[in-house]
């Protein structure tokens, strides 16, 4: 299949597309946004510095963006761009799957760096659940890449929104939506994060870790067993490969062994401090400062020292 020199982004009813545009823009001679979802999202994309916006029309009440999968696949396959960048989100992956099925391309997920080598797209991404990095050149067909969607973009002179007929949609309808009581936390922008893992013996003992987080002026987080095994900590605070990825100045890991699935989520921290009773815990090989000790002894001492230093 011959591809054009265009770069496309797929927008899944969410205007936070700064990451998509930033990744796609250097890879093509023109930048096209294909928007599934509401008109306001298409209009936001039109003012985000793209050359064209192709919009699949206003969804009827209750029709989720996933219903547009076949339309997204068809429109992209007809245009055959050099690259399609889409959001690595729940609904984004549905639309990218449709692109993959329509073009035969493989979705390159977890991409950390995109570049051009001649007219071929080169993608660097984490493989094996994050244990290695690998660079591939897309030698035939459209490169299909999933990246973090990034923030909102505005301020460019808007281009026209071109509406196209989506054709038949899939039979999906949202009939109810309930807000869950847990408020969203923004771990992604937190400067300090204190994470706790299986070293914690009882739910009541979370107060100790919460106190350390407060003393450090940071947010509480956890490794997977505490959010999904025992549900002591809200799932939105779980760090790792299928949870949150953070980029704080300081990450304090308490009672966390440091399995790769966890470390993938915290590697971008400027400084990592580890407290663990096992001197052989893998986290001690990936930290800046380590203390081997019982968290029930160490954490109150750290909280006191942090509090004194910051007051």
């Amino acid at each position: 299949m011959n591809v054009s020199s265009q770069a496309w982004v797929v927008v899944a009813d969410d205007a936070t597309i700064g990451g998509l545009l930033g990744a796609a823009r250097p890879l093509g001679t023109s930048l096209v946004a294909l928007v599934a979802g509401r008109r306001e999202v298409a209009e936001a994309a039109a003012a985000a510095g793209v050359d064209r916006v192709v919009w699949l029309g206003e969804p009827a009440d209750g029709v989720p963006v996933e219903a547009y999968g076949p339309a997204v696949g068809r429109v992209v396959a007809e245009a055959a761009p050099r690259v399609v960048v889409g959001p690595a989100t729940d609904s984004g992956r549905v639309l990218l799957g449709a692109v993959a099925a329509a073009t035969g391309a493989v979705v390159l997920a977890g991409a950390s760096e995109l570049s051009l080598d001649g007219d071929k797209v080169v993608v660097e991404r984490a493989v094996g659940g994050g244990i290695a990095l690998r660079r591939d050149r897309v030698v035939a067909g459209t490169a299909v890449v999933a990246v973090a969607p990034g923030g909102t973009v505005a301020g460019a002179a808007p281009v026209a929104v071109e509406e196209v007929d989506p054709g038949p949609l899939l039979a999906l309808r949202v009939t109810d939506r309930r807000v869950t009581p847990r408020v969203g936390v923004d771990l992604g922008s937190a400067k300090t994060v204190v994470g706790v893992g299986r070293g914690l013996k009882a739910r009541e003992d979370l107060a100790l870790i919460e106190d350390l987080a407060a003393a450090a002026g940071g947010e509480l987080a956890c490794s997977r067993p505490l959010a999904e095994g025992v549900d002591w900590v809200g799932k939105e605070r779980y760090l790792g490969i299928s949870g949150q990825t953070i980029t704080p100045d300081l990450y304090v890991a308490v009672g966390i062994s440091g399995q790769i699935q966890h470390m993938v989520g915290v590697r971008e921290a400027t400084t990592i401090v580890a407290v663990n009773s096992d001197p052989h815990a893998p986290i001690f090989r990936e930290c800046d400062y380590g203390i081997v000790g019982d968290l029930y002894t160490v954490v109150p001492l750290l909280a006191e020292a942090f509090r004194a230093a910051r007051s």
Binding site: R93, A171, L172, R177
Partner: protein, 258 residues
């Protein structure tokens, strides 16, 4: 109702060796039902039990995924039968090809109403194959699913969205990827493990599935070890913890991160 659980027999990256050049050696890592999949078996069984349905396990991969141990591990998790495509032509196959083979197998099984999968595979972690499978089948796909029930000819799906939970009614066949904590998977007991030996397994021939030949669209350039950030690795003296806490606090203050 016919329910397929699409799962993966995979090794945990925790047991793989990563060389200095970023090459991954899986030879010492053993296969297992991928960590995120038991929840899919559980969701499927619960759904089947409420609507007199049937649960068929489905996995595809290299020839080594078909062992008595691997069959038993899947069949003891509430399946009625198991279907496999085990062919060395699938060794290292990319996600789109795996999805195409799964789609071919779902068509071969026939009359399938819903495919349930885990959110991700433990060894690759792309969270993509189930949704590519949905598109290959021409079906709807939904991620972050925490519950599913049958209501007449429709499936009622609860899925997590930012800030809440949505109920989505699927009027046609659908592929669902479950959240990691959608259900608490039952641990197979002796009864289930012994019963597994009596359940049927069908091995499908890859060549008979009418799946397009792989297109070589990707060429490897290089591999590397992930940057661990050149951490300082300073171990503080645990014999005097108050001094260690003070030393750490001073260092963090000095570097401006506390």
């Amino acid at each position: 109702m016919k329910i397929v659980v699409a799962y993966k027999w995979a090794a945990n990256p925790q047991d793989a060796e990563v060389g200095p050049d970023g090459t991954v050696d899986w030879s010492r890592a053993k296969g297992a039902v991928s960590e995120y999949d038991p929840v899919a078996f559980e969701l499927a069984r619960v759904l089947a039990d409420t609507c007199a349905g049937e649960v068929v396990g489905l996995t595809v991969g290299a020839a080594a995924i078909d062992t008595p141990l691997a069959r038993k591990a899947a069949l003891s998790r509430g399946l009625d039968s198991l279907v496999m495509v085990a062919d060395d032509a699938l060794r290292g196959a990319d996600g789109t090809r795996i999805a195409a083979v799964l789609a071919g197998a779902v068509r071969a099984i026939g009359d399938v109403d819903v495919v349930v999968a885990g959110e991700s595979s433990v060894d690759v972690g792309d969270r993509q194959v189930a949704m590519t499978l949905a598109a290959q089948l021409g079906w709807a796909g939904l991620n972050a699913v925490r519950a599913v029930t049958a209501d007449g000819g429709s499936l009622v799906v609860e899925r997590e969205v930012a800030g809440g939970v949505e109920t989505v009614v699927a009027g046609g066949p659908v592929v669902l990827a479950a959240t990691a904590d959608a259900a608490l998977p039952r641990v197979p007991g002796m009864k289930e493990i012994l019963g597994a030996a009596k359940k049927p397994t069908q091995v499908l021939d890859l060549a008979a599935l009418d799946v397009p030949a792989p297109a070589d669209t990707i060429a490897p350039v290089s591999t590397a070890r992930p940057d661990t950030g050149n951490r300082q690795g300073v171990m503080l003296d645990a014999a005097d913890l108050p001094a260690a806490a003070a030393q750490l606090t001073a260092a963090l203050r000095q570097s401006g991160v506390l």
